[in-house]
Each structure stands twice: as C-alpha cells, then as structure tokens.
C-alpha cells in the first residue's frame, strides 16, 4: 500500500468569530475536500471552561471532522501536539473503518471484531500514522485579545514541530494569521519542512481588532487546493499519490 498524505488545518483562537460566514460551514467544506479541521480554544487563567465565545470551537471541529480542545495557555504545547496526533489517528481510523465495512458488510465495525484481531488492525493504523506524510496549515487568531498569548503559541508550534519531525513520515507546515494587516488573512510562513524559521517570523506579529474566522478558514482551504493543483501540474507523471 502506498502511504498517503494527511491534510490538516489547525485553528488556534480565543474567541468567537465576528465577521463573515459561519466558520463551521466552511469547516464542513474543508472536510468534504479531505482536509481535517482541528480547533484549540485558549482560555485566560481566570476564565472557567465553559466560556460563551468558545462554544464555536467544538462546532467547527465537529463539522471539520477533527478534534477540539479548550485549554489554559500553560497547557497549550502539549495540547497542540496531542490534538494533531489524535486527529491523524482518527482520520486513518476512519479510512480503515470504511475499508472494513466494505469487506465485512455494512453494519460491521471495529467493535464487532474479536479483541485479538482488533489488535492487528490497530497495528496497521499506528503504522500508517507513523509513516504517512503530513501537511498542517496553522491558522492563528491574532485579534487584540490574543496579544499576550502569542509567545505561548509560538513555543507550542515549535514544540509541535519537535513531535512531528520525530516521525518517520515527511511533514510540511505553513502558518497563516487572521486578521492580517490589510486582508482578513495573511501568510506568516510558507510551506516548509520545519518550524525553525518561526523564531524570526513570530515576534513581528501585531494584533488587530476583528475575528474573521470563517473567511480565514476559506483562505486556508484555498491554499491547500492551490498547493495540490501546483503539485499535480509539476508531477503529472506521479499522480498516483493516494490521499485519505
């Protein structure tokens, strides 16, 4: 079996969107195109876990087929890597699940297989997770309230790259912010195999007023499809690449 590429958008935000379309609906579109949307909501130290604005977080991830988590900023690093990995496993599991249903019949799932066989299937899932290529587009909310949290976000992203580059498969990252200086979205870091450049890019970020989460997600989705178009243009002969 050829190893495939997993595509993810990681949205890091601390509040409710207040401009443009409903982010959950854009997330659903992303999912349709094979891109998983994960969302992390950051809390201030004095906030309780069921804040109004953060209810959106779960809704976006659910329609984006991804994982969501609400955390205090001190736990951000570990959460970012956990959410990313969980989503990868989930995507692969979903894929294996569909294959299984085709083989075993419609109503059969992993729980209908005896525990011993289940182990063998999970071994395959783990193996794919380790060896698949991964593309993550990080979408960072840089609205005014995020200002104090940006250094923590930077550390978390560096930490994420440590985790992912420890895998066998290849990784590519890119970072976008919203709102940008002039537009809703702005590129911070172009597709690159590691995050080491982030040290120099991040301090320059300024924070703006509005939170156009929906439009930002749409832009992220567009960046993915643009990238893949370019790639299929350049590598027409190797177009047998499978994706989950």
């Amino acid at each position: 079996m050829r190893k495939g590429t997993l595509r993810q958008i990681l949205l890091i935000t601390d509040g409710c969107s207040n401009k443009g379309e409903d982010p959950a609906s854009v997330a659903a579109l992303c999912y349709e195109q094979g891109i998983t949307v994960n969302v992390i909501g950051i809390l201030d130290d004095n906030q309780s876990e069921d804040v109004e604005g953060l209810q959106e977080v779960e809704a976006i991830a659910r329609s984006g087929g991804g994982v969501s988590q609400i955390v205090y900023s001190k736990d951000l690093a570990q959460t970012v890597q956990m959410v990313t990995r969980q989503a990868m496993t989930q995507t692969i599991q979903g894929f294996v699940h569909r294959e299984l249903k085709e083989i075993l019949g419609r109503d059969q799932g992993l729980e209908d297989i005896e525990p011993e066989k289940r182990g063998e299937i999970m071994e395959v899932v783990e193996d794919l997770g380790e060896k698949s290529d991964l593309e993550v587009l990080v979408l960072v909310d840089t609205s005014a309230s995020m200002h104090d949290k940006l250094p923590t976000v930077k550390d978390s992203l560096i930490d994420l790259s440590i985790s992912l580059t420890s895998r066998i498969g290849d990784n590519r990252f890119s970072i976008y912010r919203f709102p940008g200086k002039r537009n809703d979205t702005e590129k911070v870091l172009d597709w690159s195999p590691d995050f080491s450049e982030i040290q120099s890019v991040f301090p320059k970020l300024t924070s703006g007023g509005i939170t156009p989460t929906g439009p930002a997600l749409r832009e992220a989705m567009y960046q993915f499809s643009k990238k893949n178009l370019l790639r299929s243009f350049y590598h027409e002969t190797e177009s047998d690449e499978s994706s989950f």
Binding site: A77, Q78, T89, Q93, L110, E111, E114, P115, E116, R118, G119, I121, M122, E123, V125, E126, E130, D159, I162, S163, L164, T165, S166, R167, I168
Partner: protein, 310 residues
C-alpha cells in the same frame, strides 16, 4: 456525551460486576486504583484472585496498549504487568466499552520507600531500572513515558517495577505518550524520536523529581539549569557524572550507562568496606594485648609446625 461516558467509567462503584462479551470471564470491582488519559484502572476480584482491570471508551487507544503488553510478554523476564485478558463489556443500556485485565502489582510509591528506607537505595534502584531498560531496549522498544508515578517498589525483597506501559513505543518511531517534566523535547535537549537516550533522559528526571517533589519549569539555558539541580542534591552526588551525561545525551545505549553506574556502585561499596577495615586496624593498634596474644600464638604455631617436620 463523551464526557458522560468518561464519568461513568471513572466512577464505577465497588461491587460492580463486569462480564466479558467474548471470553465470558467475570470481574467484581473492589476499588479504583487510578485514572489516566486513556482510561481508569480498578482493583478487581477474579475468582478469588486480585487483578487490575483497565477500562476505557477509547477502544482504539486501549487496543494499542494491549498490543504493547502482548509484545512485552514475549520479552524474557517480567517487564511490566502480565496481561491476563482482553474483552468488551456490554452495559445494561447496551453501550460497549473495551477493557483489559493484568496482573495486580502490589507495592509502595517510589518516593515513600526512599523516605522510609533512606537514599542508600538510590544506586540499587537506578541499577535495577537500567537492567530492565536494557532488556526492553534490546528487544526493540523504548519505554517513553517513564516517570515517578509509573514506578512502584515491591517489597521483600525491594524491587522497582513499572506499572503503566501505555507509552511504550517501537524504536525509531515518534514517542507515543510523554509527560512534559520528563520529556527532553520540552527541555529543548533533543527530539521525541524513540531512542534509548530518550529513556535515559527521563530516568535522570525520575531521580530529580524524587528530590524536587514540586517539579520546576524550564528557564533560559535548560541544560545548565538541570546540571545545577543535579549538583544541589547531596544524595545524588555519587551519580552526578553519569546523570549529567544522560541529560546531555552522551549515552547512545542504556548498556553504556549501566556499565558506568555499576562501576560507581561497586567502587562505592569497596571504599566504604576498606574504610571499615582500616578502622579495624586502628582498633588493633590501640589494643597491644591483642597483638601480643596473636604474636605468641603465631610463634607457638611455628614451633608446632617445626616439631611436625622434625
């Protein structure tokens, strides 16, 4: 919904009977032993035998742990708790949860043991831990989530054992599960690739955590910071050199570290023994009477032997 399932599974009352769907074995819950990211562990009664049962709503993650336990079964000796059963539990409302059953390792927490019995045990346990790690590493696995919470001391004779193998990862892959304080990635001192040196870093942090119960956070120049922390613990003085080498990734294999530790430990006992014998000599010098008696005996013996030959 998900939250509800987790609450239910982490609060199963004593007396609850869990019956397996596939193998039909029955377990009666006695008390809860703990909860983690993947599930909750209960002490159970299985036909008169005490066992530990881990149950979770995350069937996939639990299956991954079972795979590790199954692989460890094939490693010589007892690494980690012995796996006894794997099954599903169907609740009264038709919900299905996966569980597995393992040997119940009875012991006391590492820190409690050191508090009660003194730090002379440090070297012994470090050696035991390195022995186990060496065997694990040689069979192609890295422990990953090595931490104080995962270690207990079985008494009579005291033996350090690990209880949770959930983070165990095949060599060369990315570490599956880790705890920040013990993770060299967090300290910016290496990758999260499953290598022997990853476990050796965590092992050093285990012994630091033993003496810094409140942990501490990373500052500028983490390597110097950890060196200082090692230097400040008197009980770790004999092991400073090797702990620092482990922290800075100087050991490629656990065998190397074990060899150097063994050297230190055996030298330690030798110096203390020779000190003791010197003390004995001092006693002799202060007791001329003893020397006299000894001298006379030797002379007498000499004459006796002479008389035998003649």
């Amino acid at each position: 919904m998900k939250q509800k399932a987790m609450n239910l599974l982490s609060n199963l009352p004593p007396g609850t009977v869990i019956t397996g769907k596939w193998h039909h074995k029955t377990y009666r819950i006695k008390k809860k032993l703990g909860s983690g990211a993947v599930g909750s562990v209960y002490l159970c009664d299985a036909a008169g035998q005490e066992v530990a049962l881990k149950i979770s709503d995350k069937s996939a993650s639990l299956t991954v742990e079972v795979n590790v336990l199954t692989s460890l079964k094939q490693v010589q000796g007892s690494l980690g708790p012995y796996l006894l059963d794997v099954d599903d539990w169907v609740t009264r409302n038709g919900k299905v949860y996966s569980f597995y059953v393992m040997e119940y390792v009875r012991g006391i927490p590492f820190r409690t043991f050191i508090k009660q019995h003194g730090s002379s045990w440090i070297g012994v346990f470090m050696l035991q831990l390195l022995d186990d790690l060496t065997r694990l590493h040689q069979s192609g696995w890295i422990f990953g989530d090595l931490k104080l919470d995962n270690l207990i001391v079985m008494t009579n004779p005291p033996r350090l054992r690990w209880v949770d193998v959930g983070g165990t990862t095949q060599k060369g892959r990315a570490i599956k599960e880790y705890t920040e304080f013990y993770d060299r990635g967090y300290w910016q001192l290496g990758t999260r690739r499953a290598e022997e040196s990853y476990d050796l870093f965590a092992l050093t942090m285990v012994f630091l955590h033993l003496f810094y119960p409140n942990e501490f956070e990373r500052r500028e120049q983490p390597l110097q910071q950890l060196y200082r922390r090692i230097d400040q613990v008197k009980a770790l003085a004999p092991y400073r050199k090797i702990l620092k080498k482990a922290i800075s990734g100087k050991y490629q294999t656990s065998t190397e570290m074990r060899r150097e530790l063994f050297h230190i430990v055996s030298q330690n006992t030798r110096t203390s023994r020779s000190r003791r014998s010197r003390k004995k000599q001092d006693n002799l010098r202060h007791a001329p009477f003893v020397i006299e008696t000894l001298g006379i005996t030797i002379i007498a013996l000499g004459y006796y032997l002479l008389s035998l030959f003649l």
